[in-house]
């Protein structure tokens, strides 16, 4: 018995420490990261295969709202995307403009009143953070497809980049996110200006927060100042399509 116990301990100890040490040094290796990340493309293709382009995220009722919707990430913004966010906020966003440019026929500069005058969509949806928690809220905003149609998206455009007024992390890097055209033209993808019946609060990304309902929370850019239509993400900041993608090994496709 003593021999068995020793052998077991030896095997278990050796096995687990080799495994753990291996996984840690592998986790820091770019080659291993690339191999592990290859599953992201498979996941995206598989999910797109079984998900109708226009399949809607579940919509809830007012009775289902989270009593308190947790705010996460930046609670306010500063001067990223070339704006003075605090001045805009102080003026209740009267001077806010949403710039729409890049691969579009007609670049736009839309005020909040312009956006509110356009057709709107209201949806009560579940917000899923990559950390695991969920909150249900009501969002009203302009469908992104309407804005893109107004701007006349060029055929060469493949992605829409959301440039935000906030920076994040110890190095104050600008927050940004991007989606492809499947999600950009999805009926529930809206530029939300209202939340739970009032204007989107500062901590939730006033005045405009993107809602990308079939992906995780970090894709839902807050403090959106500018939409840029691009053919490739390579030249945008770190080239991986978003703040967390560039700075934290998070997947660009956040459908899971």
């Amino acid at each position: 018995m003593a021999i068995i116990t020793t052998r077991r301990k030896l095997i278990a100890g050796l096995g687990s420490s080799v495994l753990l040490a291996g996984c840690d040094s592998w986790s820091r290796s770019d080659r291993v990261k690339n191999i592990l990340s290859s599953a992201e493309g498979l996941t995206m293709r598989a999910q797109r295969l079984v998900t109708d382009r226009n399949a809607l995220a579940r919509e809830f009722t007012m009775d289902d709202l989270s009593p308190s919707f947790r705010a996460n990430g930046s609670r306010t913004a500063d001067t990223a995307a070339g704006v003075d966010y605090q001045a805009l906020l102080a003026n209740n966003f009267a001077d806010y403009r949403l710039e729409v440019d890049g691969l579009v026929s007609r670049p736009l500069s839309l005020s909040l009143a312009d956006l509110r005058a356009m057709p709107s969509r209201t949806q009560i949806t579940r917000h899923d953070c990559v950390e695991g928690w969920s909150a249900i809220g009501q969002w009203t905003g302009t469908p992104l497809s309407r804005v893109l149609d107004l701007a006349g998206l060029r055929d060469s455009a493949n992605y829409i980049v959301f440039h935000c007024a906030d920076t994040y992390g110890s190095q104050d890097r600008p927050y940004y996110e991007s989606i492809d055209l499947v999600d950009a033209f999805h009926p529930q993808t809206i530029l939300a200006y209202d939340m739970n019946g009032g204007a989107v609060p500062e901590r939730h990304g006033a005045p405009i927060r993107a809602r990308i309902e079939r992906q995780l929370g970090y894709k839902h850019a807050k403090f959106v100042m500018r939409l840029e239509a691009v053919d490739s993400l390579d030249e945008i900041y770190g080239g991986k399509g978003g703040y967390w993608e560039d700075n934290g090994d998070y997947a660009w496709y956040a459908g899971v």
Partner: protein, 303 residues
């Protein structure tokens, strides 16, 4: 050879075919190549999935029932740290878990207040993003190899022939007999050891056709895209946060299965058992030494 033995044993007719029956001490074929390949692929995948899953759990060590659940809401399970103490709270009950959960010492000596300690997580340092990369890569290996094994094992009738309980095995008397034999660590010897007993059959069936599908489906329910594609997932599990809770509970049950499985391997003879899962060859256990049998046990109970 193994097939013959399987057909002959347990039917009460063993005496008439005793000449073809493999004898105790004989080295016989035990596990098919499909079972062996899947066993080890799956073992690696499951261990990486469990440990990277704990990494992901550490990002938000609280579980809820229903559709939503975040910091302002009340969890049914929470692992946390408070002052110099770590705790596990389930409902109203709080257990101090300092040193293991909620507050523990890192390998370099620093104190961490993460839920699960570094020896239990992949990676061993805190990284939600890396935990997710490991988890989803091995989730694909787990799902694809599991589906292949399912298809193969129905195709070659492994499930129907070796795992499906016979009617008489399902009697309470038979099950109770097996439990009492297990409790006394009296395992089948000779050719009878080639057949799965009822407790093994039920455990493997529950893992293969209840726990593994449940953990995949609850995993898919946590995906916002899958919820749009297959909204019935949300109705099946009662919302995304319920699915997350069930995912965690099923992972725990799989962990319990692994521990029991390993203990049984050690008790049954680790060399022989592990060899049978690597080479497929299994040495039939010899009859028990008389001193191991309690004197009051009737002789006919020895299978």
């Amino acid at each position: 050879m193994a097939d013959e033995a399987e057909m002959d044993i347990g039917q009460g007719e063993a005496k008439s075919v005793v000449s073809t029956e493999p004898q105790p001490g004989e080295l016989v074929k035990r596990h098919r190549i499909s079972t062996r390949l899947w066993h080890w692929t799956n073992a690696i995948a499951i261990i990486v999935l469990l440990m990277s899953g704990l990494s992901i759990f550490n990002a938000h060590p609280r579980l809820y029932w229903g559709s939503y659940g975040a910091n302002p809401d009340t969890p049914w399970l929470e692992i946390g740290g408070e002052g110099t103490r770590g705790y596990l709270q389930i409902g109203e009950t709080q257990i101090t878990t300092t040193g293991v959960l909620g507050r523990w010492r890192e390998p370099d000596g620093d104190t961490s207040t993460r839920a699960f300690p570094s020896w239990a997580t992949i990676p061993g340092y805190y990284s939600l993003a890396m935990g997710r990369l490991w988890h989803f890569f091995f989730a694909w290996i787990f799902v694809l190899s599991g589906l292949a094994y399912w298809a193969w094992s129905f195709g070659n009738r492994h499930v129907q022939r070796d795992l499906t309980p016979k009617r008489k095995e399902l009697s309470l008397k038979h099950i109770w007999h097996d439990i009492s034999q297990h409790a006394r660590l009296r395992f089948p010897t000779g050719a009878a050891a080639l057949n799965y007993n009822i407790l093994q059959k039920l455990s493997y069936l529950i893992v293969l056709f209840v726990l593994l599908p449940l953990i995949v489906l609850t995993g898919l329910t946590m995906s916002p895209t899958m919820d749009a594609a297959w909204p019935w997932l949300l109705d099946l599990f009662g919302g995304r946060q319920s699915a997350r809770s069930i995912h965690f509970i099923v992972a725990f049950l799989i962990g319990v299965f692994i521990v029991v499985h390993l203990v049984m391997v050690v008790l049954a003879g680790p060399f022989n058992e592990i060899r049978s899962m690597i080479t497929g060859k299994f040495r039939l256990p010899k009859e028990r030494e008389p001193k191991l049998a309690p004197p009051e046990t009737p002789a006919e109970e020895t299978a």
